[in-house]
Symmetry: C2
Subunit: 271 residues, 2 copies
């Protein structure tokens, strides 16, 4: 099982921390995996790292492409170009491998199956984020994620989620739609609808393990209280994790293969 | 007593909220003071509002110049120019009034006595912030303020404060130095040193009044706890408020008059 996940967004939105949170802090200690996830050495190129994961008895090779923050400069025109090139190059590699007369199966699939776009909390989407989304939405499965959700009160999150969806709608940006799952287990279907209702997800990430009342959890310790990233009443981290790694991973790969890749292939071969 | 305070920084860093926090929410209800402090109508020009305040029996006419967020566009080159022009225009007005043969005293003083630069929490200062500071530090009393401090844990705040000061030092940016006060009351001196040790201030603002154990306070309510902006163990808001409005207001005016204005006047008349 291979899954290729790309993270984009401004620097300091917690992308590296999120990766660590996704796969349990111990997998991504910056000292063990130098380079991409070590923010002290500022990456200026797009970098990719893979890990082998076991989720419910299935071995998953997960590749994370962590882009350096965009929007770092005073003039950010075209800062999205390296991201577009990266995504297209993966389609190109696949196309070449697939088109060989003497091709070896299975074809190694390095195509980006999902692109998480980290959005800074604020009033609304920034001009730069809108521009980037417009460039990417018809190339890759785009999932906007509200970063550092512990920055906002519950009301502010509600308002911001509505604003984000309105702007996406007005700008005709097509984000990945999580289809309803049709499970034999009705409980799963209901859980999935509940999780879907939280879109776009507002997440908090953490590499720090804390302890409270004998329970350990990953979170952020403030003088006024402690955020538990696994607690759905604190943030949508577990909702995103569940839908990404468990319930919708296959669909993300299918849409990449059947829609985005086919678009690329058609445009490439037709012109 | 007149004091002119300017706030600059990216949009959504809590500048309007800070103004309201500074003068007790009831003074700045956006419905009573439309325009500058109502973020729903996005200001695209620099706007100024005055209030009469009573602090310790002294009447203070406080003018707040709230600049629209800078750094809003994809290309932000020169977005600082309107701010520079605004500051210089105030010096120009004063110079003209002061130079009149038949001048009326006291000269109306609309010069900016203090410019608070709101900085987004993150790894370090952004390129744009550095550029803006370099343009302003020799024109006005510049005080960097770390915004939305409730976004960061105590350790992150410590690290960020150190980073900010290091960058300011390396870039030879001259921020306003709060001189030690030399009060008869040793307690005041000691308090002032304590407050100074927290520089640069990391603040939280709020328009919302909350209640806890029968006490009311302004703060932000999260599922995991409640930030009290007046609590010095939660953030440096009260430290900034005290030094700005109480202990260092006169010095800020003196430095503006004796240093920044004189520099402007000299450059203007000498060339
Ligand atoms: N408030 C808050 N801070 C976070 C969160 N995730 C990470 N951080 C902090 O934000 C800073 C930048 O995080 P990092 O993962 O390096 O961001 P990146 O540049 O996007 O990879 C670090 O100090 C993190 O501890 C979060 O969910 N909420
Ligand atoms: N986490 C956090 N949010 C804040 C703080 N101050 C204001 N906000 C929120 O940030 C958003 C933007 O605030 P606003 O004052 O309009 O920012 P401005 O655009 O800089 O004037 C609003 O949702 C505020 O409630 C703060 O100190 N911490």
């Amino acid at each position: 099982f291979e899954f290729n996940l790309m993270l984009i967004g401004e620097s300091s939105l917690g992308k590296s921390t999120f990766i660590n949170s996704l796969f349990l802090a111990e997998l991504y200690n910056p000292e063990d995996f130098p380079g991409t996830f070590d923010r002290r050495k500022k990456t200026t190129y797009i970098d990719s790292t893979s890990v082998m994961l076991s989720e419910k008895g299935v071995n998953l090779r997960l590749s994370i492409v962590d882009t350096p923050g965009f929007g770092e400069s005073i003039d950010n025109s075209n800062c999205w170009q390296p991201i577009i090139d990266f995504i297209d190059n993966k389609y190109e590699e696949y196309l070449n491998a697939e088109s060989k007369i003497n091709r070896k199966l299975p074809i190694v699939d390095n195509r980006i199956h999902c692109c998480l776009h980290f959005i800074a909390p604020g009033h609304t989407l920034k001009q730069l984020d809108i521009e980037v989304m417009k460039k990417l939405h018809d190339r890759v499965n785009l999932i906007p994620v509200i970063a550092k959700a512990d920055t906002m009160t519950q009301d502010e999150i509600k308002t911001f989620k509505t604003n984000v969806l309105n702007v996406i709608d007005e700008q005709k940006i097509q984000i990945y739609e999580f289809p309803d799952i049709d499970d034999d287990d009705l409980e799963n279907n209901r859980t999935n609808s509940l999780l879907k209702s939280k879109l776009p997800f507002a997440i908090v990430g953490s590499n720090t393990t804390l302890e409270n009342d004998g329970k350990t959890f990953r979170g952020r310790q403030y003088p006024w209280g402690c955020v538990n990233i696994d607690d759905l009443s604190h943030c949508d981290f577990m909702a995103l994790r569940t839908m990404l790694i468990r319930t919708h991973m296959q669909d993300l790969k299918d849409v990449t293969n059947n829609v985005h890749y086919e678009n690329y292939r058609f445009k490439k071969l037709a012109y």
